[in-house]
């Protein structure tokens, strides 16, 4: 088990390194100069040049890469060009905010969508199935920024139940903090239901068609046992993979929802950094997100044997 984990992490090293290389050079290929952006439209060429040299941007690009990589290997992600804060600290602070919202939303969405998907599969082509699939398709096709704004309009403006803007950390003040994250969680929850429900239904349908289910029924097992022993565990495995992907995707990528609800999360940090050409922050964020992907997928893989005995971790 430990060997498996270690080897998986070892396999991830080249991936993460590749991400580091691509990110570092790609962002520098994008036109736009952090120093010029920082100083604004009326900056003189001398002051831009001075700032570039301060930031080390006047050095050879390979030298810059070597400096950055060496620092990263020592755990130093550098400081933000715009705010002068430690990038590692920034990322951790912002990640905590995003992760809380995403984990709750995905957990709730899984709890609702997976059973609903299985039920839809069992009652395939019934009115219930049709309704569930339609709802899922609808939720899936609504873009989150629009869904977020509608939720904001309803709960924040029309009903006035929840504050429209602002953020209070749940760790600091649980009851108030909850008020500020309810709407973003609801938005993501609704969106992810659409994704997960369809996947759960499709996997269950696939399993239901298999010979061993027919065999199980033929040998007289009660339907309950058939479902719980044979259908659900096997149908859950692909859904689990998808949950892993969704999690990895959302942990760094809910910038839109964060912007609508003024949540100071990782996604917004990244988007702001891209617009501001804040190279150290962009590099740090993307590297961090790559690592998160690797870790989430590793955890998902480790969970596999729980649902599918054919998978053995060696």
């Amino acid at each position: 088990m430990l060997r498996f984990i270690l080897s998986r992490i070892g396999m991830a090293v080249p991936t993460v390194f590749l991400v580091a290389v691509v990110v570092f050079f790609l962002i520098r290929l994008v036109p736009g100069d952090p120093a010029a952006l920082l100083l604004g439209d009326m900056a003189s060429p001398e002051s831009v040049a001075a700032l570039r040299s301060d930031l080390g941007l006047d050095k050879n690009i390979l030298t810059q890469f070597a400096i950055w990589l060496t620092s990263v290997l020592q755990g130093d992600f550098g400081t933000s060009i715009t705010t002068k804060e430690q990038v590692a600290h920034l990322i951790i602070e912002r990640f905590k905010v995003s992760a809380g919202i995403v984990l709750v939303a995905v957990a709730l969405a899984s709890l609702v969508a997976v059973p609903a998907g299985f039920i839809a599969a069992l009652r395939q082509n019934s009115r219930l199935d049709f309704t569930l699939v339609s709802i899922a398709a609808l939720l899936l096709s609504i873009p989150t920024f629009w869904l977020g704004l509608v939720i904001l309009l309803i709960f924040g403006l029309k009903l006035g139940w929840l504050p429209v803007v602002g953020y209070v950390s749940v760790a600091e003040d649980p009851s108030r903090g909850l008020l500020y994250v309810l709407m973003p969680i609801l938005t993501l929850f609704l969106h992810e239901i659409g994704v997960l429900l369809r996947m759960a239904r499709a996997s269950a349908l696939e399993v239901l068609r298999l010979d061993y289910i027919t065999h199980a029924r033929a040998k007289g097992l009660p339907e309950r046992t058939v479902l719980w022993r044979h259908v659900f565990p096997n149908a859950f495995a692909p859904t689990l993979t998808l949950i892993g992907l969704v999690l990895g995707n959302m942990l760094g990528g809910i910038a839109v929802v964060e912007t609508v609800f003024t949540i100071p999360g990782l996604g917004r940090l990244l988007v702001d950094a891209i617009f501001g050409r804040d190279y150290p922050v962009i590099q740090g964020c993307l590297l961090f997100i790559a690592v998160i992907y690797v870790l989430v997928n590793l955890i998902v893989d480790l969970c596999y044997p729980l649902f599918d005995p054919r998978v053995k971790i060696t």
Binding site: D41, R94, L153, P163, V164, V165, L179, T262
Partner: protein, 519 residues
Amino acid sequence: MNRRQRLAASAAALALTLACGPAAAETLKIALNADIRSLDPGVNRDANSDAVVLHIVEGLVAYSEDASVKPLLAKEVAVSDDDLTYTFKLRDGVKFHNGNVLTSADVVWNWNRYMDEATKWRCRNDFAAGGAAHVVSVTAPDDKTVVFKLEKPNALFQATLARTDCGMTGILDKSSFNADGSFNVPVGTGPFRYKEWRKGEFIDLEAFADYAARSEEKRDGYTGAKRPLVEAVRFAVIPDRSSAKAALLNGDIDIVPDVPYADVEEFKQNADTAVSLATNPGIVALLLQTRDPLLKDMRIRKAIAMALDTKTMVEGITLGLGKANNSLIPPTSKYHSPAQTQGYSYDPEAAKALLQEAGYNGQPIKLIANTRYSNTYDAAIVAQAMLQQVGITAELEVLEWAAQLDRYQSGNYTAMVFPYSGRYDPALTMDSVMGNKDKEPRKVWDDPDAQAMLADAVRYSDPAKRQELFDKLHARFLETVPFIMLYNGLEASAYQKHVQNYAASIFSMPRAWEVTIAE
């Protein structure tokens, strides 16, 4: 009651108790469309940073409502006959937020810090050797007097000290810095003092009870009456415009300094909100690369100017709120004389004739625009259509702002619609567009004769003399068409009606002093 209803009900109850809390009523909540960069005046800044910092720190002099420079921490400023010595008398009883009394020694100490290269003050080069307003010495003959000596006369010396992007050359108490000299938090003399900055969320300020108010009764730009009349101010970071609008409508926010023009009518109609409009000196221009093989021909540039009905264009993109201005001097300036109201003559037929004379036959002109400053994008779209009318093929190239700025800095473009941030003295505005393209490729008006006139406008402080020069410059600007000036920035601020005495200003930055919240 099911679980969700119960949750919603308890959430509603909580929200209600929060909204009605006694402390909340006296906090003025102002939206910012992005987080600030730092609180270090004039060092690491953008417009939002300036807006917040200038509530905390003050300088010797400041811009007034009509963009002239007036004393702020100074009681009076005496200028010697040779225009080389400026004597600032400090006001009595001005205190820093930690209770220390402001003395001339503080001013000298701050000046030395600003002029230290390590501080990285944005405006250092203007005052250093070789700069336009080279300061050779700053002395404090007594507790309340500071004397600045210049190398050569410069009409813009005070106007540069007062620049908002220079942090107003704000005077800070020494406790603003860490033991190693690095900046910590601003301890200034302003009407509000720094309380807390949650990155990406908000900046909280509180009223400074011992604020030494000036004797003027009215607010006057960044000087005049500046009393803190609310207990606290919160600048809340709300990047999304729709969210800011929703927050204003439901009362979570008191003031949104910049709302889209399309929302102005709605906020005016709404019983709870009001709108304040102000034109700023920032210029929105259609830049033309005079070194482009096509556009180096003045006839083609003139034809472009004649093809554009800027009046209709600006009315269209500002939904009737703004007016075109073809002068680099904004209508709010005292230098906007009748001569400055002279603009381009809209004449499509003459434009066609000029194009024919110049031998233009439909060669495409790339027109760069960005969507971050959405009304400049609209201007580009309208310009494209108007140019089409006279047979000019303008191809729109939409870039992200950082990419466009890059092209602007390098001069690598044929045409672009570009928004400049505001400078309050006309000579400063002109200085940012005029210059030698060989030395500074970003400059868009390369004309030695005009440059000489500008140098005089910087040299002489006599307003009549300056007016004459500005009028001559404007005539030359219209005649040679180095680029096309379309309009000045227009800011629409929306606020709750219970906010009293709030007004947008030429600075396009929210001001919380002299503002009250009605019961």
